[in-house]
Amino acid sequence: MPESFEETITLAGDLHARPAGALSVAAAQFSSAVQLAVAGRADGGTAGVTGPQADAKSVLAVMQLGASSGQQVTVRAVGPDAEKAVETLIGILAAVSKAGD
Protein backbone atom coordinates (compact mmCIF):
# COMPACT_ATOMS: atom_id res chain seq x y z
CA MET A 1 0.00 0.00 0.00
CA PRO A 2 1.72 3.22 -1.11
CA GLU A 3 1.88 6.02 1.37
CA SER A 4 0.10 9.27 0.60
CA PHE A 5 0.85 12.64 2.13
CA GLU A 6 -0.17 16.21 1.49
CA GLU A 7 0.51 19.61 2.94
CA THR A 8 -0.58 23.12 2.01
CA ILE A 9 1.35 26.37 2.22
CA THR A 10 0.49 29.98 1.35
CA LEU A 11 3.05 31.53 -1.00
CA ALA A 12 4.81 34.64 0.27
CA GLY A 13 5.90 35.52 -3.28
CA ASP A 14 5.33 34.52 -6.89
CA LEU A 15 6.52 31.13 -8.09
CA HIS A 16 9.04 32.26 -10.71
CA ALA A 17 11.22 30.22 -13.04
CA ARG A 18 14.10 29.55 -10.68
CA PRO A 19 12.09 28.17 -7.73
CA ALA A 20 10.00 26.21 -10.24
CA GLY A 21 13.22 24.62 -11.45
CA ALA A 22 14.32 23.91 -7.87
CA LEU A 23 10.96 22.22 -7.18
CA SER A 24 11.21 20.00 -10.23
CA VAL A 25 14.84 19.04 -9.64
CA ALA A 26 13.93 18.13 -6.04
CA ALA A 27 10.75 16.27 -7.00
CA ALA A 28 12.68 14.14 -9.48
CA GLN A 29 14.80 12.75 -6.63
CA PHE A 30 11.78 10.90 -5.22
CA SER A 31 10.16 7.78 -6.61
CA SER A 32 6.75 8.97 -5.40
CA ALA A 33 4.36 10.71 -7.77
CA VAL A 34 4.24 14.37 -6.71
CA GLN A 35 1.50 16.84 -7.66
CA LEU A 36 1.12 20.54 -6.99
CA ALA A 37 -2.34 22.07 -6.77
CA VAL A 38 -3.12 25.76 -6.56
CA ALA A 39 -6.19 27.17 -4.86
CA GLY A 40 -7.18 30.59 -3.63
CA ARG A 41 -6.53 33.84 -5.43
CA ALA A 42 -4.53 36.61 -3.78
CA ASP A 43 -7.84 38.39 -3.20
CA GLY A 44 -9.27 35.34 -1.45
CA GLY A 45 -12.15 35.21 -3.92
CA THR A 46 -11.94 31.55 -4.83
CA ALA A 47 -10.23 30.12 -1.77
CA GLY A 48 -11.04 26.47 -1.35
CA VAL A 49 -11.99 25.99 -4.98
CA THR A 50 -9.90 23.36 -6.72
CA GLY A 51 -7.52 25.08 -9.07
CA PRO A 52 -4.97 23.95 -11.63
CA GLN A 53 -2.67 21.03 -10.90
CA ALA A 54 0.74 20.07 -12.18
CA ASP A 55 3.17 17.18 -12.08
CA ALA A 56 5.91 18.60 -9.85
CA LYS A 57 8.55 16.75 -11.89
CA SER A 58 7.68 18.77 -15.02
CA VAL A 59 9.17 22.25 -14.73
CA LEU A 60 7.10 23.62 -17.60
CA ALA A 61 3.89 22.37 -15.97
CA VAL A 62 4.94 23.95 -12.68
CA MET A 63 5.63 27.26 -14.41
CA GLN A 64 2.31 27.07 -16.22
CA LEU A 65 0.50 27.00 -12.85
CA GLY A 66 1.40 30.67 -12.54
CA ALA A 67 1.19 30.39 -8.76
CA SER A 68 1.48 33.81 -7.19
CA SER A 69 1.88 35.54 -3.86
CA GLY A 70 -0.97 34.82 -1.45
CA GLN A 71 -2.15 31.67 -3.21
CA GLN A 72 -2.31 28.33 -1.46
CA VAL A 73 -0.24 25.55 -2.97
CA THR A 74 -0.87 21.96 -1.93
CA VAL A 75 1.85 19.35 -2.39
CA ARG A 76 0.50 15.80 -2.71
CA ALA A 77 2.73 12.76 -2.98
CA VAL A 78 1.93 9.09 -3.33
CA GLY A 79 4.64 6.47 -3.04
CA PRO A 80 7.25 4.97 -0.75
CA ASP A 81 9.00 8.29 -0.05
CA ALA A 82 5.89 10.48 -0.11
CA GLU A 83 6.37 12.03 3.32
CA LYS A 84 9.94 13.13 2.59
CA ALA A 85 8.92 14.42 -0.83
CA VAL A 86 6.18 16.61 0.64
CA GLU A 87 8.49 17.88 3.38
CA THR A 88 11.21 18.77 0.85
CA LEU A 89 8.91 20.57 -1.59
CA ILE A 90 7.10 22.47 1.14
CA GLY A 91 10.53 23.62 2.28
CA ILE A 92 11.31 25.02 -1.18
CA LEU A 93 7.88 26.70 -1.42
CA ALA A 94 8.37 28.21 2.04
CA ALA A 95 11.59 29.84 0.81
CA VAL A 96 9.77 31.63 -2.04
CA SER A 97 9.74 35.23 -0.93
CA LYS A 98 8.47 38.52 -2.26
CA ALA A 99 11.95 39.37 -3.42
CA GLY A 100 12.45 36.00 -5.12
CA ASP A 101 12.66 35.48 -8.82
Binding site: G21, V25, A28, V59
Partner: protein
Protein backbone atom coordinates in the same frame (compact mmCIF):
# COMPACT_ATOMS: atom_id res chain seq x y z
CA UNK B 1 27.52 12.10 -7.88
CA UNK B 2 27.18 10.36 -11.22
CA UNK B 3 28.01 12.32 -14.37
CA UNK B 4 25.17 14.38 -15.75
CA UNK B 5 23.94 14.61 -19.31
CA UNK B 6 25.35 17.65 -21.11
CA UNK B 7 23.28 19.96 -23.29
CA UNK B 8 24.33 21.75 -26.49
CA UNK B 9 22.24 24.65 -27.78
CA UNK B 10 22.69 25.29 -31.51
CA UNK B 11 21.33 28.60 -32.78
CA UNK B 12 21.76 30.90 -35.75
CA UNK B 13 22.42 33.62 -33.19
CA UNK B 14 25.23 33.46 -30.63
CA UNK B 15 23.35 35.78 -28.29
CA UNK B 16 20.16 33.72 -28.55
CA UNK B 17 22.09 30.54 -27.71
CA UNK B 18 23.93 32.20 -24.83
CA UNK B 19 20.81 33.82 -23.37
CA UNK B 20 18.89 30.57 -23.54
CA UNK B 21 21.80 28.75 -21.91
CA UNK B 22 21.86 31.34 -19.12
CA UNK B 23 18.13 30.98 -18.47
CA UNK B 24 18.08 27.19 -18.64
CA UNK B 25 21.19 26.97 -16.48
CA UNK B 26 19.63 29.13 -13.78
CA UNK B 27 16.34 27.23 -13.78
CA UNK B 28 18.36 24.02 -13.54
CA UNK B 29 20.16 25.39 -10.49
CA UNK B 30 23.55 25.63 -12.16
CA UNK B 31 24.12 21.89 -11.80
CA UNK B 32 24.26 21.03 -15.49
CA UNK B 33 26.74 21.78 -18.28
CA UNK B 34 25.14 23.72 -21.13
CA UNK B 35 27.36 24.76 -24.02
CA UNK B 36 26.46 26.82 -27.07
CA UNK B 37 27.19 26.84 -30.79
CA UNK B 38 25.72 30.09 -32.05
CA UNK B 39 26.45 31.97 -35.24
CA UNK B 40 29.05 31.39 -37.92
CA UNK B 41 32.82 31.18 -37.43
CA UNK B 42 33.11 34.84 -38.42
CA UNK B 43 30.37 36.01 -36.09
CA UNK B 44 27.42 36.34 -38.47
CA UNK B 45 23.97 34.79 -38.14
CA UNK B 46 24.20 31.16 -39.17
CA UNK B 47 25.62 27.90 -37.93
CA UNK B 48 29.06 26.32 -37.85
CA UNK B 49 29.86 22.61 -37.88
CA UNK B 50 33.13 23.28 -36.06
CA UNK B 51 31.34 25.22 -33.32
CA UNK B 52 28.83 22.41 -32.83
CA UNK B 53 31.57 19.79 -32.62
CA UNK B 54 33.48 21.91 -30.09
CA UNK B 55 30.33 22.50 -28.02
CA UNK B 56 29.60 18.75 -27.91
CA UNK B 57 33.10 18.02 -26.64
CA UNK B 58 32.79 20.70 -23.94
CA UNK B 59 29.35 19.45 -22.83
CA UNK B 60 30.36 15.82 -22.50
CA UNK B 61 30.81 14.55 -18.95
CA UNK B 62 30.43 10.87 -19.74
CA UNK B 63 26.65 10.51 -19.53
CA UNK B 64 25.81 11.57 -23.08
CA UNK B 65 24.93 14.86 -24.73
CA UNK B 66 21.60 16.24 -25.90
CA UNK B 67 21.77 18.61 -28.89
CA UNK B 68 18.96 21.15 -29.28
CA UNK B 69 18.91 23.06 -32.59
CA UNK B 70 16.79 26.18 -33.06
CA UNK B 71 15.56 26.25 -36.67
CA UNK B 72 16.10 24.96 -40.17
CA UNK B 73 19.76 24.92 -41.07
CA UNK B 74 20.78 24.40 -37.44
CA UNK B 75 19.19 20.99 -37.80
CA UNK B 76 21.00 20.39 -41.11
CA UNK B 77 24.33 21.41 -39.59
CA UNK B 78 23.87 19.02 -36.67
CA UNK B 79 22.76 16.20 -38.96
CA UNK B 80 25.72 16.73 -41.27
CA UNK B 81 28.14 16.67 -38.36
CA UNK B 82 26.66 13.49 -36.89
CA UNK B 83 26.59 11.78 -40.28
CA UNK B 84 30.18 12.66 -41.14
CA UNK B 85 32.07 12.86 -37.86
CA UNK B 86 30.17 10.85 -35.23
CA UNK B 87 33.22 8.63 -34.69
CA UNK B 88 35.29 11.64 -33.59
CA UNK B 89 32.72 12.84 -31.07
CA UNK B 90 31.97 11.70 -27.53
CA UNK B 91 28.74 9.74 -27.22
CA UNK B 92 26.01 8.82 -26.93
CA UNK B 93 24.37 11.80 -28.65
CA UNK B 94 20.71 12.62 -29.22
CA UNK B 95 19.09 15.47 -31.16
CA UNK B 96 15.91 16.94 -29.68
CA UNK B 97 12.92 17.90 -31.83
CA UNK B 98 11.67 20.56 -29.43
CA UNK B 99 10.92 24.26 -29.00
CA UNK B 100 14.20 26.00 -28.22
CA UNK B 101 13.55 27.85 -24.96
CA UNK B 102 11.05 25.46 -23.37
CA UNK B 103 13.03 22.44 -24.52
CA UNK B 104 16.27 23.84 -23.10
CA UNK B 105 14.66 24.63 -19.73
CA UNK B 106 12.96 21.22 -19.44
CA UNK B 107 16.14 19.40 -20.51
CA UNK B 108 18.28 21.38 -18.06
CA UNK B 109 16.01 20.55 -15.11
CA UNK B 110 15.91 16.85 -15.98
CA UNK B 111 19.68 16.75 -16.51
CA UNK B 112 20.24 18.61 -13.23
CA UNK B 113 18.12 16.00 -11.48
CA UNK B 114 20.42 13.28 -12.78
CA UNK B 115 18.13 11.99 -15.52
CA UNK B 116 19.41 9.66 -18.26
CA UNK B 117 19.99 10.87 -21.81
CA UNK B 118 16.65 9.29 -22.78
CA UNK B 119 14.89 11.10 -19.91
CA UNK B 120 16.48 14.42 -20.88
CA UNK B 121 15.51 13.90 -24.53
CA UNK B 122 11.94 13.04 -23.54
CA UNK B 123 11.69 16.10 -21.27
CA UNK B 124 12.81 18.37 -24.11
CA UNK B 125 10.45 16.82 -26.64
CA UNK B 126 7.47 16.85 -24.25
CA UNK B 127 7.96 20.64 -24.12
CA UNK B 128 6.25 20.72 -27.51
CA UNK B 129 2.97 20.01 -25.70
CA UNK B 130 3.43 22.43 -22.80
CA UNK B 131 1.07 25.38 -22.79
CA UNK B 132 2.36 28.68 -21.55
CA UNK B 133 -1.02 30.35 -21.00
Amino acid sequence: MAARVGIVLVSHSASLAEGTAELAGQVGGGAVTITTAGGTDDGRLGTSIDKVADAIRRADAGAGVLILPDLGSSVLTVRTLLADDADDLPGPLEVADAPFVEGAVAAAVTAAAGGSLKAVLDAAQEARHARKL
